[in-house]
Protein backbone atom coordinates (compact mmCIF):
# COMPACT_ATOMS: atom_id res chain seq x y z
CA UNK A 1 0.00 0.00 0.00
CA UNK A 2 1.58 3.28 -1.02
CA UNK A 3 2.28 4.80 2.40
CA UNK A 4 2.54 8.44 1.38
CA UNK A 5 -1.10 8.52 0.34
CA UNK A 6 -2.52 6.37 3.16
CA UNK A 7 -5.00 8.91 4.43
CA UNK A 8 -6.19 9.75 0.94
CA UNK A 9 -6.73 6.16 -0.24
CA UNK A 10 -10.23 4.76 -0.60
CA UNK A 11 -10.94 1.06 -0.33
CA UNK A 12 -11.23 0.95 -4.12
CA UNK A 13 -7.60 2.09 -4.51
CA UNK A 14 -6.22 -1.02 -2.80
CA UNK A 15 -4.63 -3.83 -4.79
CA UNK A 16 -5.93 -7.42 -4.61
CA UNK A 17 -4.97 -8.76 -1.19
CA UNK A 18 -3.35 -5.38 -0.38
CA UNK A 19 -0.23 -6.52 -2.22
CA UNK A 20 2.56 -3.92 -2.28
CA UNK A 21 4.03 -3.74 -5.76
CA UNK A 22 6.71 -1.11 -5.04
CA UNK A 23 9.86 -2.62 -3.44
CA UNK A 24 11.45 -0.71 -0.55
CA UNK A 25 8.33 1.33 0.07
CA UNK A 26 8.50 0.78 3.85
CA UNK A 27 11.08 3.60 3.97
CA UNK A 28 8.34 6.04 3.00
CA UNK A 29 6.26 5.10 6.04
CA UNK A 30 6.38 8.03 8.47
CA UNK A 31 6.93 6.24 11.78
CA UNK A 32 7.72 9.66 13.29
CA UNK A 33 3.93 10.02 13.62
CA UNK A 34 4.05 7.68 16.61
CA UNK A 35 6.39 9.94 18.65
CA UNK A 36 5.30 11.62 21.88
CA UNK A 37 8.86 12.50 23.00
CA UNK A 38 11.91 13.46 20.95
CA UNK A 39 15.57 12.89 21.81
CA UNK A 40 17.69 16.03 22.28
CA UNK A 41 21.50 15.81 22.42
CA UNK A 42 23.69 17.95 24.72
CA UNK A 43 26.81 18.50 22.66
CA UNK A 44 28.74 19.61 25.78
CA UNK A 45 28.32 16.11 27.23
CA UNK A 46 28.30 13.88 24.11
CA UNK A 47 31.61 12.06 23.45
CA UNK A 48 30.57 10.93 19.93
CA UNK A 49 30.77 7.24 20.86
CA UNK A 50 27.87 6.40 18.51
CA UNK A 51 26.11 3.95 20.83
CA UNK A 52 22.84 5.85 20.28
CA UNK A 53 23.06 5.26 16.52
CA UNK A 54 23.88 1.59 16.96
CA UNK A 55 20.94 0.87 19.27
CA UNK A 56 18.34 2.89 17.35
CA UNK A 57 15.74 0.31 16.14
CA UNK A 58 14.67 2.46 13.19
CA UNK A 59 17.70 3.18 12.51
CA UNK A 60 17.39 6.92 12.02
CA UNK A 61 20.22 8.41 14.12
CA UNK A 62 22.97 9.88 11.93
CA UNK A 63 25.96 12.07 12.69
CA UNK A 64 26.44 15.59 11.43
CA UNK A 65 29.57 17.19 9.88
CA UNK A 66 31.13 17.68 13.31
CA UNK A 67 30.51 14.04 14.30
CA UNK A 68 27.66 14.78 16.72
CA UNK A 69 24.48 12.71 16.49
CA UNK A 70 20.85 13.59 15.76
CA UNK A 71 17.65 11.72 14.96
CA UNK A 72 15.77 12.03 11.68
CA UNK A 73 12.34 12.89 13.03
CA UNK A 74 10.58 11.52 9.93
CA UNK A 75 11.27 8.04 11.33
CA UNK A 76 12.13 8.58 15.02
CA UNK A 77 9.32 6.95 17.09
CA UNK A 78 10.57 8.50 20.33
CA UNK A 79 11.24 5.10 21.90
CA UNK A 80 13.99 6.52 24.12
CA UNK A 81 16.43 3.62 23.70
CA UNK A 82 19.19 6.07 22.71
CA UNK A 83 18.69 8.12 25.87
CA UNK A 84 18.55 5.00 28.04
CA UNK A 85 21.74 3.54 26.58
CA UNK A 86 23.84 6.74 26.36
CA UNK A 87 26.86 6.17 28.69
CA UNK A 88 27.20 9.94 29.30
CA UNK A 89 23.47 10.69 29.72
CA UNK A 90 23.86 13.28 26.97
CA UNK A 91 20.37 12.63 25.53
CA UNK A 92 17.16 13.99 27.08
CA UNK A 93 13.69 12.91 25.96
CA UNK A 94 11.61 16.07 25.54
CA UNK A 95 7.80 16.09 25.32
CA UNK A 96 6.45 16.92 21.89
CA UNK A 97 4.03 19.84 22.01
CA UNK A 98 0.75 18.53 20.68
Amino acid sequence: MAPKQDAAMTYRDLTIGNIVTEPGSAAAYRTGDWRSQRPVWDKNVCVKCGRCASVCPEPCIVHDAEGYYEADLYWCKGCGLCAYECPKKAITMVEENV
Binding site: D6, M9, Y11, D13, L14, I16, N18
Partner: protein, 391 residues
Protein backbone atom coordinates in the same frame (compact mmCIF):
# COMPACT_ATOMS: atom_id res chain seq x y z
CA UNK B 1 -15.73 -38.79 -21.43
CA UNK B 2 -16.55 -40.06 -17.97
CA UNK B 3 -16.64 -43.29 -16.03
CA UNK B 4 -18.72 -44.42 -13.09
CA UNK B 5 -16.97 -46.15 -10.21
CA UNK B 6 -17.85 -47.24 -6.71
CA UNK B 7 -15.42 -45.34 -4.50
CA UNK B 8 -15.32 -43.75 -1.07
CA UNK B 9 -16.15 -40.04 -0.96
CA UNK B 10 -12.68 -39.29 0.41
CA UNK B 11 -11.14 -41.11 -2.56
CA UNK B 12 -13.43 -39.11 -4.83
CA UNK B 13 -11.91 -35.94 -3.38
CA UNK B 14 -8.44 -37.27 -4.20
CA UNK B 15 -9.62 -38.07 -7.74
CA UNK B 16 -10.92 -34.51 -8.06
CA UNK B 17 -7.53 -33.16 -6.94
CA UNK B 18 -5.80 -35.34 -9.56
CA UNK B 19 -8.29 -34.38 -12.28
CA UNK B 20 -7.76 -30.70 -11.47
CA UNK B 21 -4.01 -31.20 -11.96
CA UNK B 22 -3.14 -29.61 -8.61
CA UNK B 23 0.48 -28.45 -8.17
CA UNK B 24 0.89 -28.47 -4.39
CA UNK B 25 -0.80 -30.34 -1.56
CA UNK B 26 0.12 -29.67 2.07
CA UNK B 27 -2.00 -31.48 4.60
CA UNK B 28 -1.89 -33.20 7.95
CA UNK B 29 -3.98 -36.33 8.45
CA UNK B 30 -6.81 -36.12 10.98
CA UNK B 31 -9.94 -38.23 11.40
CA UNK B 32 -12.28 -38.20 9.46
CA UNK B 33 -10.28 -36.51 6.71
CA UNK B 34 -7.39 -39.03 6.77
CA UNK B 35 -8.42 -41.07 3.74
CA UNK B 36 -8.28 -37.97 1.53
CA UNK B 37 -4.65 -37.32 2.46
CA UNK B 38 -3.72 -41.01 2.23
CA UNK B 39 -5.16 -41.36 -1.26
CA UNK B 40 -3.62 -38.11 -2.54
CA UNK B 41 -0.19 -39.12 -1.25
CA UNK B 42 -0.54 -42.44 -3.12
CA UNK B 43 -1.62 -40.69 -6.30
CA UNK B 44 1.40 -38.38 -6.11
CA UNK B 45 3.83 -41.19 -5.13
CA UNK B 46 2.57 -43.35 -8.01
CA UNK B 47 3.26 -40.55 -10.48
CA UNK B 48 -0.41 -40.26 -11.47
CA UNK B 49 -0.34 -36.60 -10.41
CA UNK B 50 2.82 -34.51 -10.89
CA UNK B 51 2.61 -32.45 -7.71
CA UNK B 52 4.52 -31.55 -4.56
CA UNK B 53 3.09 -33.29 -1.52
CA UNK B 54 4.40 -31.41 1.51
CA UNK B 55 4.38 -33.41 4.74
CA UNK B 56 3.90 -30.98 7.60
CA UNK B 57 3.87 -31.28 11.38
CA UNK B 58 0.51 -29.59 12.00
CA UNK B 59 -2.52 -28.04 10.35
CA UNK B 60 -1.21 -24.55 11.13
CA UNK B 61 1.84 -25.43 9.03
CA UNK B 62 -0.30 -27.13 6.37
CA UNK B 63 -2.31 -24.03 5.62
CA UNK B 64 0.75 -21.79 5.98
CA UNK B 65 2.54 -23.88 3.33
CA UNK B 66 -0.56 -23.68 1.13
CA UNK B 67 -0.61 -19.91 1.55
CA UNK B 68 2.97 -19.75 0.31
CA UNK B 69 2.40 -22.02 -2.66
CA UNK B 70 -0.74 -20.16 -3.70
CA UNK B 71 1.26 -16.93 -3.47
CA UNK B 72 3.66 -18.12 -6.17
CA UNK B 73 0.70 -19.02 -8.36
CA UNK B 74 0.61 -22.79 -7.83
CA UNK B 75 -2.75 -24.57 -7.79
CA UNK B 76 -3.01 -25.55 -4.13
CA UNK B 77 -5.09 -27.98 -2.09
CA UNK B 78 -5.43 -29.03 1.52
CA UNK B 79 -7.95 -30.92 3.63
CA UNK B 80 -8.71 -31.10 7.31
CA UNK B 81 -11.40 -31.68 9.93
CA UNK B 82 -12.49 -30.61 13.40
CA UNK B 83 -9.54 -29.73 15.64
CA UNK B 84 -7.34 -29.40 12.54
CA UNK B 85 -9.51 -26.62 11.17
CA UNK B 86 -9.29 -24.83 14.51
CA UNK B 87 -5.50 -25.15 14.56
CA UNK B 88 -5.52 -23.48 11.14
CA UNK B 89 -7.69 -20.71 12.47
CA UNK B 90 -5.44 -17.64 12.26
CA UNK B 91 -4.09 -18.70 8.86
CA UNK B 92 -7.66 -19.06 7.55
CA UNK B 93 -8.18 -15.33 8.00
CA UNK B 94 -4.79 -14.47 6.49
CA UNK B 95 -5.39 -16.64 3.40
CA UNK B 96 -8.70 -14.91 2.75
CA UNK B 97 -7.45 -11.37 3.33
CA UNK B 98 -4.45 -12.05 1.07
CA UNK B 99 -6.96 -13.26 -1.55
CA UNK B 100 -5.09 -16.53 -2.18
CA UNK B 101 -7.08 -19.19 -4.07
CA UNK B 102 -6.44 -22.21 -1.84
CA UNK B 103 -9.02 -25.01 -2.03
CA UNK B 104 -9.74 -27.03 1.10
CA UNK B 105 -12.09 -29.92 1.75
CA UNK B 106 -13.30 -30.20 5.33
CA UNK B 107 -14.71 -33.52 6.55
CA UNK B 108 -16.87 -31.84 9.17
CA UNK B 109 -16.23 -33.07 12.69
CA UNK B 110 -17.33 -32.19 16.22
CA UNK B 111 -14.99 -30.15 18.41
CA UNK B 112 -13.47 -31.21 21.72
CA UNK B 113 -14.35 -31.52 24.46
CA UNK B 114 -15.36 -34.05 25.19
CA UNK B 115 -13.11 -35.59 22.55
CA UNK B 116 -15.23 -36.77 19.64
CA UNK B 117 -14.01 -37.61 16.16
CA UNK B 118 -17.46 -37.98 14.60
CA UNK B 119 -19.38 -35.56 12.46
CA UNK B 120 -21.21 -32.33 13.09
CA UNK B 121 -20.84 -28.70 11.99
CA UNK B 122 -19.07 -27.23 15.03
CA UNK B 123 -15.77 -26.93 13.16
CA UNK B 124 -17.01 -24.97 10.15
CA UNK B 125 -19.26 -22.76 12.28
CA UNK B 126 -16.25 -21.72 14.37
CA UNK B 127 -14.60 -20.70 11.07
CA UNK B 128 -17.74 -19.06 9.72
CA UNK B 129 -16.42 -15.51 9.62
CA UNK B 130 -12.92 -16.25 8.30
CA UNK B 131 -13.67 -14.80 4.87
CA UNK B 132 -13.56 -18.01 2.80
CA UNK B 133 -16.20 -19.04 0.31
CA UNK B 134 -17.88 -21.95 2.07
CA UNK B 135 -20.30 -24.50 0.70
CA UNK B 136 -21.61 -27.98 1.45
CA UNK B 137 -21.67 -31.26 -0.46
CA UNK B 138 -24.16 -33.96 0.49
CA UNK B 139 -22.64 -37.08 -1.09
CA UNK B 140 -19.57 -38.46 -2.88
CA UNK B 141 -20.59 -37.24 -6.33
CA UNK B 142 -21.27 -33.75 -5.04
CA UNK B 143 -17.98 -33.47 -3.19
CA UNK B 144 -16.15 -34.64 -6.33
CA UNK B 145 -17.95 -32.13 -8.57
CA UNK B 146 -17.81 -29.28 -6.10
CA UNK B 147 -14.11 -29.75 -5.39
CA UNK B 148 -13.39 -29.36 -9.11
CA UNK B 149 -15.68 -26.31 -9.22
CA UNK B 150 -13.85 -24.88 -6.19
CA UNK B 151 -10.61 -24.42 -8.15
CA UNK B 152 -12.44 -22.66 -10.98
CA UNK B 153 -14.21 -20.34 -8.52
CA UNK B 154 -11.18 -19.65 -6.31
CA UNK B 155 -8.81 -18.85 -9.19
CA UNK B 156 -11.25 -16.73 -11.23
CA UNK B 157 -9.82 -13.20 -11.33
CA UNK B 158 -13.22 -11.78 -10.40
CA UNK B 159 -13.05 -13.90 -7.27
CA UNK B 160 -9.57 -14.77 -5.90
CA UNK B 161 -10.72 -16.16 -2.57
CA UNK B 162 -10.00 -19.47 -0.87
CA UNK B 163 -12.85 -21.99 -1.06
CA UNK B 164 -13.87 -24.45 1.66
CA UNK B 165 -15.84 -27.49 0.48
CA UNK B 166 -17.60 -29.13 3.42
CA UNK B 167 -18.80 -32.71 3.61
CA UNK B 168 -20.06 -34.50 6.70
CA UNK B 169 -17.39 -36.53 8.45
CA UNK B 170 -18.08 -40.30 8.22
CA UNK B 171 -21.68 -39.89 7.00
CA UNK B 172 -20.18 -38.77 3.67
CA UNK B 173 -16.39 -39.02 3.94
CA UNK B 174 -16.30 -42.77 4.66
CA UNK B 175 -19.18 -43.92 2.48
CA UNK B 176 -18.59 -45.84 -0.76
CA UNK B 177 -20.91 -44.65 -3.50
CA UNK B 178 -21.07 -44.74 -7.29
CA UNK B 179 -19.30 -41.64 -8.59
CA UNK B 180 -19.06 -40.49 -12.18
CA UNK B 181 -15.43 -39.43 -12.62
CA UNK B 182 -14.48 -36.98 -15.33
CA UNK B 183 -11.37 -37.41 -17.43
CA UNK B 184 -8.61 -34.83 -17.18
CA UNK B 185 -9.24 -33.32 -20.61
CA UNK B 186 -12.86 -32.67 -19.74
CA UNK B 187 -11.84 -31.07 -16.46
CA UNK B 188 -9.15 -29.03 -18.21
CA UNK B 189 -11.76 -27.61 -20.61
CA UNK B 190 -13.80 -26.45 -17.61
CA UNK B 191 -10.85 -25.36 -15.47
CA UNK B 192 -8.42 -22.94 -17.15
CA UNK B 193 -4.81 -22.72 -15.88
CA UNK B 194 -4.25 -20.79 -12.66
CA UNK B 195 -2.83 -17.33 -13.42
CA UNK B 196 -2.57 -15.47 -10.12
CA UNK B 197 -2.29 -11.78 -11.07
CA UNK B 198 0.51 -10.68 -8.70
CA UNK B 199 2.49 -13.79 -7.76
CA UNK B 200 5.73 -13.82 -5.80
CA UNK B 201 8.48 -13.84 -8.43
CA UNK B 202 12.14 -12.71 -8.26
CA UNK B 203 11.80 -10.69 -11.47
CA UNK B 204 8.89 -8.67 -10.13
CA UNK B 205 9.18 -8.26 -6.36
CA UNK B 206 6.03 -7.67 -4.33
CA UNK B 207 5.24 -7.58 -0.64
CA UNK B 208 2.39 -9.79 0.54
CA UNK B 209 0.84 -9.68 3.97
CA UNK B 210 2.00 -6.17 4.86
CA UNK B 211 0.45 -4.60 7.94
CA UNK B 212 -2.26 -1.95 7.80
CA UNK B 213 -2.42 0.76 10.47
CA UNK B 214 -5.73 2.26 11.65
CA UNK B 215 -5.74 4.68 8.74
CA UNK B 216 -5.97 1.75 6.27
CA UNK B 217 -7.38 -1.32 8.05
CA UNK B 218 -11.01 -0.28 7.62
CA UNK B 219 -10.47 0.23 3.89
CA UNK B 220 -8.78 -3.18 3.58
CA UNK B 221 -11.67 -4.90 5.35
CA UNK B 222 -14.27 -3.03 3.29
CA UNK B 223 -12.54 -4.08 0.07
CA UNK B 224 -12.43 -7.70 1.25
CA UNK B 225 -16.09 -7.74 2.25
CA UNK B 226 -17.26 -6.15 -0.99
CA UNK B 227 -15.08 -8.55 -3.01
CA UNK B 228 -16.45 -11.61 -1.18
CA UNK B 229 -20.05 -10.53 -1.79
CA UNK B 230 -19.18 -9.98 -5.46
CA UNK B 231 -18.16 -13.64 -5.82
CA UNK B 232 -21.81 -14.73 -5.73
CA UNK B 233 -22.43 -14.51 -9.51
CA UNK B 234 -19.02 -16.07 -10.19
CA UNK B 235 -19.95 -19.09 -8.06
CA UNK B 236 -23.30 -19.43 -9.83
CA UNK B 237 -21.66 -19.05 -13.24
CA UNK B 238 -19.15 -21.82 -12.46
CA UNK B 239 -21.88 -24.17 -11.22
CA UNK B 240 -24.07 -23.39 -14.26
CA UNK B 241 -21.19 -24.01 -16.66
CA UNK B 242 -20.46 -27.29 -14.86
CA UNK B 243 -24.12 -28.28 -15.30
CA UNK B 244 -24.10 -27.40 -19.00
CA UNK B 245 -20.97 -29.47 -19.60
CA UNK B 246 -21.49 -32.42 -17.29
CA UNK B 247 -25.21 -32.47 -16.50
CA UNK B 248 -25.16 -32.09 -12.72
CA UNK B 249 -26.61 -28.81 -11.48
CA UNK B 250 -25.81 -27.03 -8.22
CA UNK B 251 -27.32 -23.85 -6.79
CA UNK B 252 -26.79 -21.69 -3.68
CA UNK B 253 -30.25 -22.63 -2.39
CA UNK B 254 -31.77 -25.88 -3.63
CA UNK B 255 -35.46 -26.50 -3.16
CA UNK B 256 -37.35 -29.79 -2.98
CA UNK B 257 -41.15 -30.09 -3.29
CA UNK B 258 -41.79 -26.50 -2.25
CA UNK B 259 -44.95 -26.18 -4.38
CA UNK B 260 -47.77 -25.48 -1.94
CA UNK B 261 -45.52 -26.20 1.03
CA UNK B 262 -46.73 -24.40 4.16
CA UNK B 263 -44.06 -25.94 6.35
CA UNK B 264 -40.47 -25.88 5.06
CA UNK B 265 -37.49 -27.74 6.51
CA UNK B 266 -34.08 -26.10 6.06
CA UNK B 267 -31.11 -28.47 6.27
CA UNK B 268 -27.45 -27.98 5.39
CA UNK B 269 -25.24 -30.98 4.66
CA UNK B 270 -25.86 -34.67 4.03
CA UNK B 271 -28.85 -35.06 6.35
CA UNK B 272 -30.82 -33.12 3.76
CA UNK B 273 -30.95 -36.42 1.85
CA UNK B 274 -32.64 -38.12 4.81
CA UNK B 275 -34.96 -35.14 5.13
CA UNK B 276 -35.90 -35.38 1.44
CA UNK B 277 -37.03 -38.98 1.91
CA UNK B 278 -39.14 -37.86 4.88
CA UNK B 279 -40.66 -35.05 2.82
CA UNK B 280 -41.70 -37.61 0.19
CA UNK B 281 -43.40 -39.74 2.83
CA UNK B 282 -45.19 -36.79 4.45
CA UNK B 283 -46.30 -35.47 1.06
CA UNK B 284 -47.75 -38.88 0.22
CA UNK B 285 -49.67 -38.64 3.49
CA UNK B 286 -51.05 -35.29 2.35
CA UNK B 287 -48.95 -32.95 4.53
CA UNK B 288 -47.91 -29.69 2.77
CA UNK B 289 -44.19 -29.87 3.59
CA UNK B 290 -41.11 -29.02 1.55
CA UNK B 291 -37.35 -28.86 1.91
CA UNK B 292 -34.59 -26.33 1.37
CA UNK B 293 -31.05 -27.65 1.11
CA UNK B 294 -28.74 -24.77 1.85
CA UNK B 295 -25.64 -25.34 -0.25
CA UNK B 296 -23.84 -21.99 -0.16
CA UNK B 297 -23.01 -20.79 3.34
CA UNK B 298 -20.62 -17.90 2.52
CA UNK B 299 -21.37 -15.56 0.88
CA UNK B 300 -24.83 -16.17 2.35
CA UNK B 301 -27.61 -16.30 -0.29
CA UNK B 302 -29.97 -13.81 1.40
CA UNK B 303 -32.19 -13.02 -1.61
CA UNK B 304 -32.48 -16.67 -2.71
CA UNK B 305 -33.49 -17.76 0.80
CA UNK B 306 -36.15 -15.04 1.00
CA UNK B 307 -37.46 -16.04 -2.42
CA UNK B 308 -37.55 -19.74 -1.52
CA UNK B 309 -39.43 -19.04 1.72
CA UNK B 310 -41.85 -16.50 0.25
CA UNK B 311 -44.86 -18.82 0.67
CA UNK B 312 -43.85 -20.67 3.82
CA UNK B 313 -45.92 -20.34 7.00
CA UNK B 314 -43.60 -22.34 9.25
CA UNK B 315 -39.86 -22.69 8.72
CA UNK B 316 -37.96 -25.41 10.58
CA UNK B 317 -34.20 -25.05 10.72
CA UNK B 318 -32.15 -28.08 11.69
CA UNK B 319 -28.65 -27.14 12.88
CA UNK B 320 -25.77 -29.49 13.64
CA UNK B 321 -23.97 -27.20 16.09
CA UNK B 322 -24.73 -24.95 19.04
CA UNK B 323 -23.85 -21.29 19.41
CA UNK B 324 -23.24 -21.47 23.16
CA UNK B 325 -25.10 -18.80 25.09
CA UNK B 326 -26.40 -17.46 21.80
CA UNK B 327 -29.60 -17.77 19.81
CA UNK B 328 -29.42 -21.54 19.22
CA UNK B 329 -28.28 -22.87 15.87
CA UNK B 330 -26.08 -20.68 13.65
CA UNK B 331 -27.96 -21.55 10.43
CA UNK B 332 -31.22 -20.59 12.10
CA UNK B 333 -29.91 -17.25 13.32
CA UNK B 334 -28.66 -16.49 9.80
CA UNK B 335 -32.09 -17.33 8.42
CA UNK B 336 -33.79 -15.09 10.95
CA UNK B 337 -31.43 -12.27 9.97
CA UNK B 338 -32.26 -12.84 6.30
CA UNK B 339 -36.01 -12.54 6.94
CA UNK B 340 -36.07 -9.84 9.62
CA UNK B 341 -37.67 -6.61 8.50
CA UNK B 342 -39.08 -8.10 5.30
CA UNK B 343 -42.76 -8.21 4.43
CA UNK B 344 -43.21 -11.98 4.62
CA UNK B 345 -42.59 -13.23 8.15
CA UNK B 346 -42.96 -17.00 8.55
CA UNK B 347 -42.66 -18.49 12.03
CA UNK B 348 -39.16 -19.92 12.44
CA UNK B 349 -38.49 -22.88 14.71
CA UNK B 350 -34.93 -23.89 15.61
CA UNK B 351 -33.86 -27.48 16.26
CA UNK B 352 -30.39 -28.79 16.96
CA UNK B 353 -29.62 -32.41 16.12
CA UNK B 354 -26.93 -34.75 14.85
CA UNK B 355 -24.20 -33.62 17.25
CA UNK B 356 -20.93 -35.55 17.49
CA UNK B 357 -21.87 -38.22 14.98
CA UNK B 358 -25.38 -38.98 16.19
CA UNK B 359 -27.77 -39.86 13.38
CA UNK B 360 -30.87 -37.85 12.63
CA UNK B 361 -33.41 -40.55 11.92
CA UNK B 362 -36.27 -40.13 9.42
CA UNK B 363 -38.85 -40.31 12.21
CA UNK B 364 -37.01 -37.49 14.00
CA UNK B 365 -37.39 -35.23 10.97
CA UNK B 366 -41.08 -36.19 10.90
CA UNK B 367 -41.45 -35.40 14.59
CA UNK B 368 -39.73 -32.02 14.05
CA UNK B 369 -42.58 -31.12 11.69
CA UNK B 370 -45.20 -32.09 14.30
CA UNK B 371 -43.39 -30.36 17.15
CA UNK B 372 -42.83 -27.16 15.14
CA UNK B 373 -46.51 -27.07 14.24
CA UNK B 374 -47.39 -27.47 17.92
CA UNK B 375 -44.93 -24.72 18.97
CA UNK B 376 -46.40 -22.32 16.41
CA UNK B 377 -50.09 -23.13 16.90
CA UNK B 378 -49.91 -23.08 20.70
CA UNK B 379 -47.48 -20.14 20.59
CA UNK B 380 -45.08 -21.88 22.97
CA UNK B 381 -42.15 -19.83 24.32
CA UNK B 382 -39.39 -22.00 22.85
CA UNK B 383 -36.08 -20.51 21.62
CA UNK B 384 -34.78 -23.83 20.32
CA UNK B 385 -34.90 -27.52 21.16
CA UNK B 386 -32.23 -30.21 21.02
CA UNK B 387 -33.54 -33.34 19.31
CA UNK B 388 -33.16 -36.73 20.96
CA UNK B 389 -31.42 -35.56 24.13
CA UNK B 390 -32.13 -37.87 27.10
CA UNK B 391 -33.66 -35.92 29.95
Amino acid sequence: MSKRRGIEASAAVAEAVAAANVDVIAAYPITPQTHIVERISEIVADGILDAEFICVESEHSALSACLGSAAVGARTFTATAGQGLELMHEVLYVTASMRLPVVMVVANRALSGPLNVWGDHSDVMAARDCGWIQYFAENAQEVYDLTICAFRIAEDHRCLFPVMVNMDGFHVSHVVEPVELLDRDAVASFLPPNRYPLPLHPDRPVTMGAFAPPVLYTECRTAQEEALRATFPVIKEAWDDFANRFGRRYAPVETYRLDGAECVLVVMGSFAETAAAVIDRLRDAGKPVGLIRLRLWRPFPFAEIRQALSNARIVIVCDRSISYGGPGGPVCSELKAALFGHAHQPRIVSFIAGLGGRDILPEQFASMVDRATEIVERNLPVDYEIIGVRQ
